[in-house]
Each structure stands twice: as C-alpha cells, then as structure tokens.
C-alpha cells in the first residue's frame, strides 16, 4: 500500500518539474536584468520568485525520487538525472542565499550560470527518460530509414514507371532534403507537380532531354563538386538508378504510364528486369539455420577433437558446428557416435574417405539440422541411405565413389530442400538420371565422369603464326 501511495505521489513529478524550470529561469533572468536600471525589478519580487522556484525544485526532487522507485527507467540515466536535479535544488538554495544577503559578486553570477546549466541538463536528461534518448535528434536522421518497405514488383512491364521505378530512387536518395519535411534550395520532389516545377533556380527536369535536365547534370557532376547531388556524404545514386532516371526523362518524364508503354533500349532491359521480385537470382538458401541454438556439449567436442576430427563453430558468435573427418580417416562407425551429443548443433558434416559404413548413417540420421553432408569414398550402401530420409534440411549431399544405386538414391524423396546431389563414381549412369531428375526436380544432379575431347591443338605448339 505504502509503495502504491509513494508511486502515486511520484507520478506528479512530470507535472511538477516544469515549475522549477520556468520559475527559476524567470528568477535568473530577473536577477540578470536588475543590473540595468531600465529593467530593474524590485528585490522582494526576485526573492519571492526564487523562493517559490527553490521550493518547487525541492518538491520535484522528492517526487522524482519516489517515481524512480518504480524501476521503469534506465538506471544509469535516472541516476544522472537525479543528481543533476538535486544539484538544481542545491544551486537554487545557494543562489537564493546570495540574494538574501544582498551580495551581487562573482560568486552569485557563477551560481546563477551553473544553475542555468544544471536546469538545461536535468531537463534534457528528463526528456530522454520519457521520450527516449534519440527523441531530440531523430528528426535529423535520413528519412529513408523511416520509410515503409515497398511492395515487390511481380511483373516489371505492368508496373507504373514513376511510382514503381523512379519514385523509389528519389525516395531513398533525395527525399531526406527535398520533401515535405525539408525543401533545400526550395525544391520538393515528393509530389509530381512540385517535382516538375523545380526549385528556386528553376526546373530540374526537362521532359525528353535528360542531358539538359539540371537534376541529371547534378547527378553526373564529380562527387567532390559542391553542386553534386546527392551531397558527398549522403548515399549516392548508383549506375543502374542513374540509367533509369536518364531513360525516364528521355521518354518524357511521365507519371502515369506503365513500363511496357515506353520503348526500352536493349541496355536497359536487364536493369528493369532486376527490379522484378522474382528475377533476383534466388539467393542461395542459408546453410545455417536462422534460429539460434544452445552451445554444444564441450566434452563431446573435446572427445571428437582428441579423435582427430576438426570440429569448429561455423562462425564467430554461432553455436552451430561443422565437423570434418579429413584428418581422422581411420575412424569407424563407433567413433561417429561421438557426434550424437552435438546432433542439434551440427550443420556441415564431412565424412569423406573414412572407414564408416551404413551403421554410421543411423547416427547421422539424428542430426536433423544438417545442411551439407559429404560421404565420398565410404562403404555406405543403399540400405544405409534410406536412413537419411529424415534429414529434412539437407541441401548438399555428396555420395561420390560410393556403392549407392539410382534406386537407393531415389528413396530420399523427403529431402525437399536438396539443392545438389553428387553421384560421380557410383554405379549411377546417364540412363538413370532421368528418373533422378524427376524425383529431385529442384536439385542439381551431377553424375560426373566428365571428359574433355582430345584436340590436336592440346599438345601441338606453334612456332609461327597460323595461316588462315
């Protein structure tokens, strides 16, 4: 109960703090002005103003202290704010004492200045506490950070040339200085009409004439030039964006047409196509899961290392592990069991050229986060392969030089994420690939056995120019 009452009182702090700020500032101002006969205010007034100000400062301190008990605020910031606030109260007491004893010496002046400083600092810290420490400067940040993400373009030819192609460039590279919020050089670019109207030096876009348009000229100036846009320190318009702007202006700087309505030079086609969401060559899926995992068992890692296996996290600050048996070629199925405690962490595993057999695959089938698995030149067979069907995340599977067959590999039909399947040196030949391609339609299937035709020129050498 007591706690809730104190907190209730504490909650008057945000209201009360404004009193000492205002009243003490008035007090300081009046005191300073009293040096000029024209503005001289009678002393009792200053005294009473300072008395009320000091009283309200002390009251603010008390309520602030009660409020800080709620623990809702950043401790560090609260502590600074508190001591500064107490400083304000103390300085105002001292200031009042100097006035009461009617001393207007250097000490009094210094006190009034420090009091002013303290009020500003305490006020700022208080503001940071309630509105967040970036509140004051947020409006100075580039606008692009706060813009909503645009919808992906499904078909670039159907997209609106201004809204979908040009505006996004202006938005990210120009709006921070030339939009509703700021209009440097009297230029606003976030509205088609205002964009065409230009800035205080006139139009920036001459429809059909990109080379004569001030906007393009500015973009093309060397970055060091003071008239270059965007300014040197800001994010620059890149080659592709520049090509798009050129094209748009040359085609009449239209705001309504679709991309397909405008002629597209050969060179621009790839640039336009790159804007299309599905065109972006699909980024290779990550071979490390996004979700984090707890640290792998230290003892298990140590045991593997002592057995000669290279076990390390895939990256700094990641608990996912990679294991490579390259320096442990004599390890057998039993030692593969050492991997079991790490089954959640293991994502990349190379067991090539070891003495493992199907038995080891039973162990490996438990490592369901595996994305890369190399079993080259091991004694595994189709029987063991079936066990791998549970490795749903597997993207790369290399079975080079093993005894697996097409029938064995096609058992793996639940490996939906498989990207690459390497089968060189197995019994699988060209005649089987059709079946496998059907089974793994998304994966690259490589049965290897490449040959390079023998050409006479491979071994002969010229001693004089060839006669053609």
């Amino acid at each position: 109960m007591l706690l809730t009452v104190t907190e209730f009182i504490g909650r008057f702090h945000p209201v009360l703090v404004h009193l000492p700020i205002g009243i003490l500032l008035i007090g300081i101002l009046l005191q300073w002005l009293s040096a000029y006969p024209k503005y001289n205010v009678s002393e009792p007034v200053i005294k009473i103003v300072l008395l009320i100000g000091t009283f309200s400062a002390i009251l603010s301190c008390i309520t602030g202290f009660l409020l800080s008990g709620s623990g809702d605020y950043d401790d560090d910031l609260v502590s600074w704010h508190m001591w500064m606030g107490i400083g304000v109260a103390a300085a105002s007491l001292l200031f009042m004492q100097r006035i009461l004893v009617k001393k207007n010496d250097m000490v009094t002046k210094a006190t009034s200045i420090s009091l002013l400083m303290l009020i500003i600092l305490t006020g700022h810290l208080g503001g940071s506490l309630t509105h967040g420490s970036d509140y004051l400067t947020a409006s100075l940040e580039p606008i692009s950070d706060t813009l909503p993400k645009r919808k992906p373009i499904a078909n670039i030819q159907e997209a609106n040339v201004y809204n979908d192609v040009i505006q996004p460039v202006l938005q990210t590279k120009c709006y921070s200085c030339h939009s509703a919020r700021r209009q440097k050089g009297g230029l606003r670019m976030d509205d088609p009409q205002l964009l065409m109207k230009g800035g205080k030096d006139g139009e920036i876009i001459l429809a059909g004439k990109s080379d004569q348009s001030e906007m393009v000229k500015r973009l093309l100036l060397p970055r060091e030039d003071e008239h270059h846009m965007p300014p040197k320190a800001k994010p620059q318009v890149n080659e592709r964006e520049l090509a798009l702007i050129h094209w748009w202006i040359d085609q009449g700087a239209d705001f309504t047409k679709k991309v397909k309505d405008l002629p597209q030079p050969e060179k621009l086609k790839p640039v336009l196509l790159a804007l299309q969401s599905n065109h972006l060559q699909p980024k290779a899926p990550a071979t490390v899961p996004a979700a984090s995992v707890e640290k792998g068992d230290e003892n298990a890692i140590r045991a593997l290392r002592e057995a000669g296996v290279v076990v390390v996290p895939v990256a700094q600050e990641s608990n996912y592990l990679q294991a490579n048996f390259v320096t442990a070629p004599n390890l057998t199925d039993e030692q593969v069991n050492l991997l079991l405690p790490l089954k959640k962490q293991l994502v990349w595993l190379k067991l090539s050229d070891t003495k493992i057999s199907d038995k080891a695959l039973a162990t490996i089938s438990g490592c369901t986060n595996l994305t890369l698995l190399y079993l080259n030149n091991t004694a595994i067979t189709d029987k063991g392969l079936a066990l791998l069907n549970g490795l749903h995340n597997l993207q790369v599977l290399s079975l080079v030089g093993t005894k697996v067959t097409a029938a064995g590999v096609s058992q793996l039909d639940s490996l939906k994420k498989l990207q690459s399947l390497y089968l060189y040196g197995t019994g699988i030949g060209k005649e089987d690939t059709a079946l496998l391609r059907k089974r793994f339609s998304k994966a690259l299937i490589d049965i290897g056995g490449y040959s390079i035709p023998f050409l006479e020129s491979d071994t002969t050498r010229l001693s004089k120019p060839q006669v053609k």
């Binding site: 056995g449 490449y450 390079i452």
Partner: protein, 502 residues
C-alpha cells in the same frame, strides 16, 4: 700460451662476464622499473585509444597458429584455388570480344587514347591491333570466348566473368603485389596469408597455404607475392612441387631414421620451450609448431602430393605431363590438396607477357601456346571439382596482374618483330567460379575497343574483398594491428562485388 690464445681466452671471459651481468640484481631492478613503467603506460594509453575494449577480429594462438578458426559469418567457400597468370594474359584474345577494334587494325592510335597516359613500352603513336582470334558466344549465358580456349568455352555457364577489372600499376612486380597483397609496395601479407591467419587450416598434417609455380619459376615480384608481411611468419605460403619431393628436404637424410628424427625434433623443441620461457616471444611457439608440422608432413605430404596415383582418366582429363613441373600437374595437385583440407592454393604460371619481342611472346604464336597449356587444365579443374561436390566450397579465381593494350606495342617507338601488346591497366578480364559465386554471369563492360571500363569496373581490392566475403570475412573489419594502426588486405578501399555472388 701464444698471444692469440690469450686473446681468445679474454674474449671468452668477456662474453661470460657480459652474460653474468645480464642477470645482476641491479639489472633486474632496472628492467623491472622499465617493465612496470612500460606496462602501466601501455594500459594508460590503451584506455585513451578509440579501439580499446573492442574484441580482436581474429584470435591468434601462437602455440597452434594454424588450428581451424572461425570466420565472422558462415562463409560459402572453405578453400581457394587462385590461378595467377603472371605476365598478364591478353583479354582481347581470350574473353573481351571487340569487333570494332578489328576495323581499326593497322591504323594509328587516336591521340585521345594517348593523351596524359603512360605505358610501359609504347612510345610515340602506336598502331591499333585488331583481335588476333575468332570469337563466339557459348553456353546459355552467351559468354564470349575466343577460339584459343576450345575447352573452356564449354563450361562458361559455371563461371562469373569480370570484364572490367582495372589496376593502377603497369609494371609486373608492383601489379602482382597489388593483386596478391593489396599494396603495390613490399611488406604486406599475401591473400593466402590473410586467409590462413583468419581461418587456420583443416588439415594439420599439411601446410595451410601452398604455392605451386609452373617450372619452379618465380613471378617478377618474387616470393613476396606469397609472403606473410607483418603477419606471423607461419602464415607465409609454402612452396611445393608436383614432381620429386613435394617439399624440398622433406625426406630424412641418409643414415637418419624416423625415430632419430623424432628424437632430434623433440630435443630442439625442448630447447625452444626453454627459450620461450625466458623471452616469451610468440614466434618461438610458432617455430615449435612448425617443427611438429614438418614432422607430420613427412608422412602426409608425399602421399597427398603424389599425382601419379591418380587414375588414368584424371590424367587424361587434366592433360598432365608425367614428370614435369607443368601447369596441368600443378592444377591437378591443387585439386588434391583442397580435397585434403588445404585452405589456400596459389598457382603461378608464367610466360603470358605477350609483348611481341620474340616468337614465344607473340600474340599470334607464343600466346596461343600458353592458351593451349592452360585451357584443358583449367577446364578440367572446374569439372573435376564439380563432380566431387568440391566446387560448392572451393572458390576458383583466375587472372593476371593487368591486361594488354588494344594498340600494338612499338618498343621505343620502333615496330616490334612480332605482333604484341603492351601492359594495360584500365581494362582486363578475370573470372571466378564456385564457392558461392553465381554461375554464367558476365559483369562489367569495356568500351568498343576494350580500352577502358564503361560499367562494372572493379579493382584488385574489390576482388580481394569479394574473396574474403566468400570465406566469411568482412574485409573492412578483418584487420591486423601493426605499427600502431590496424591494417587490412584491402587497405582503405574495396567493395564486395555483389553482382557475382549468390
């Protein structure tokens, strides 16, 4: 006792006294005062520096300098094979097809191409030289390749071409240094050193950074192109051979068996450990680990580095020449090394400096022979890595240190005896494949005569940044503190070439 004997005795005594003086109480106190003072100052200064408190990008454990380490983020590539064609191959007869240049063949070079430019050998007004090869487009990607590379043209869909590479060094040595160490002057670590420093290596029985040179010849910049610069010396490239002993002096000498070798290495290591206790120099720990690695390598290296135990099919594929230190043999060896967990294999070929000063350096004779040497082997490398599933994780980089001019070289203003091209820094072609590089991409474009880049220009630092990115390093944060400031492979520039990575 002769005068000489007395003199010698005095010298020995003097040395002994000097030794004893090293350990006097006064000396101890003096050292301590300096030591403590220095320590205090060091920590004081550190608290002032901006970088204080930041964790180091890479942990360095001097006792296990090559132990596998963690990249900053999961890398697409685990190992790198870098094929450097020293001398700088002509892009205009391999990949950069310029029909317009043919029309200018034999005409005087327009002054606009010469004004304000400097060339290594061209003086006055040279003649233009049209492409000395026929070109065609290949694969689904439609990449242009010349008739000199009949095999490579079949695999262009695996490759990302960088058509607008540029350099700022027109002499071989500085240009090679820039390409391989990120700086045109001596003293910086090579790419392979940075990579093994950052990632260690997976196979502790083999060197992490292997260098193979065709015919054992050194590139113009010498061994510095695989040097460790200011990084600990353990990260320098280990030059190996594809024929004979893979590493020189790897065999036990006659009369010394393996037990005795082990015993002597143990003894040496013990002495080194004592030294380390006294001086705390981490290089001593590195030395100990180097001895141990050398001992293990005696067993592992001859087996891995023997290409003769490869099947005939593989020899046919690569076109290896038994018993030669040829490029094809080195390229096959590179595949074997990467398969066994070697982090970085650097291959240097030579003879690409086609000035036209003699037949072997003529663009229509010797250059074609060079193409024939490399064509089959580099094609085989890509196909062989691919069929073993290794291309997923192996980044292959191919290129020279710069390109060649669209003008015919006129050394000292006179016509050269054969057709040739001078060094050219403004535009040349390199390619990358595997290790998370996109397939079938051509990035960058040169002007109508292949003189300069008009789009997608990349610098050696961009290529290095991309290489590090594929291995899981942010090239701007991957630094080494030296002479009071952090150093990077890419110095103060470099941008990852996003267009060619998946």
């Amino acid at each position: 006792m002769t005068q000489k004997e007395i003199h010698n005795q005095r010298l020995v005594k003097e040395a002994e006294e000097a030794m004893i003086r090293m350990h006097t109480r006064r000396h101890f106190l003096k050292e301590c005062a300096m030591g403590f003072g220095g320590l205090a100052l060091g920590s004081l200064l550190q608290s002032c520096s901006l970088g204080a408190g930041k964790p180091a990008a890479v942990d360095f454990d001097p006792a296990h300098p090559l132990a596998p380490k963690l990249p900053m983020f999961p890398g697409k590539a685990k190992s790198v094979i870098y094929l450097h064609m020293a001398g700088a191959p002509s892009q205009l007869e391999m990949f950069d097809y310029k029909p317009e240049l043919m029309k200018l063949d034999g005409q005087d070079c327009p002054p606009s191409l010469l004004e304000g430019k400097r060339f290594a050998f061209i003086r006055g007004v040279p003649k233009m030289l049209g492409p000395q090869a026929k070109f065609a487009q290949y694969g689904q990607s439609g990449a242009w390749v010349s008739e000199h590379l009949p095999h490579f043209s079949k695999i262009v869909d695996e490759i990302s071409f960088l058509k607008a590479c540029s350099s700022d060094q027109f002499n071989h040595a500085p240009a090679q240094l820039l390409m391989q160490t990120g700086g045109a002057r001596l003293g910086r670590p090579s790419i392979g050193s940075w990579v093994t420093y950052g990632l260690g290596t997976e196979n502790q029985n083999l060197p992490g950074f292997v260098v193979l040179t065709s015919g054992g010849k050194f590139p113009d910049a010498g061994k510095s192109v695989w040097g460790s610069g200011f990084l600990p010396s353990v990260y320098q490239g280990v030059q190996c051979r594809s024929e004979g002993d893979p590493v020189l002096f790897i065999k036990d000498p006659a009369g010394m068996d393996r037990d005795l070798r082990k015993a002597s290495i143990d003894a040496i290591n013990k002495v080194n450990e004592e030294e380390y206790k006294e001086y705390n120099d981490p290089e001593i720990l590195s030395r100990i680990s180097q001895y141990e690695m050398a001992y293990k390598m005696q067993i592992a290296a001859p087996e891995v580095m023997n290409i003769n135990n490869e099947p005939q099919y593989i020899h046919d594929l690569y076109g290896t020449k038994p018993g030669k230190a040829a490029l094809a043999n080195n390229i096959l060896l590179a595949r074997k090394l990467v398969e066994k967990g070697v982090r970085f294999v650097q291959i240097f070929d030579w003879g690409w400096d086609s000035h036209g000063t003699d037949a072997s350096l003529a663009i229509d004779i010797g250059f074609i022979n060079k193409c024939r040497e490399v064509d089959r082997a580099m094609t085989a490398l890509i196909l062989d890595l691919k069929q073993r599933g290794l291309l997923e994780e192996t980044l292959v980089v191919w290129g020279g240190e710069f390109g060649r001019t669209p003008m015919m070289e006129n050394r000292e203003g006179k016509q050269n005896p054969f057709k040739g091209r001078d060094h050219h820094v403004e535009a040349f072609t390199m390619w990358m494949a595997g290790g998370g590089i996109r397939k079938g991409v051509t990035y960058g474009e040169t002007d109508e005569i292949g003189y300069s880049a008009i789009s997608g220009k990349v610098t050696p630092h961009d290529i290095q940044a991309t290489l590090l990115n594929q291995l899981g390093f942010d090239h701007e944060k991957f630094t080494y503190q030296y002479q009071g400031r952090p150093f990077r492979l890419t110095d103060v520039s470099g941008k990852v070439i996003e267009e060619i990575i998946t």
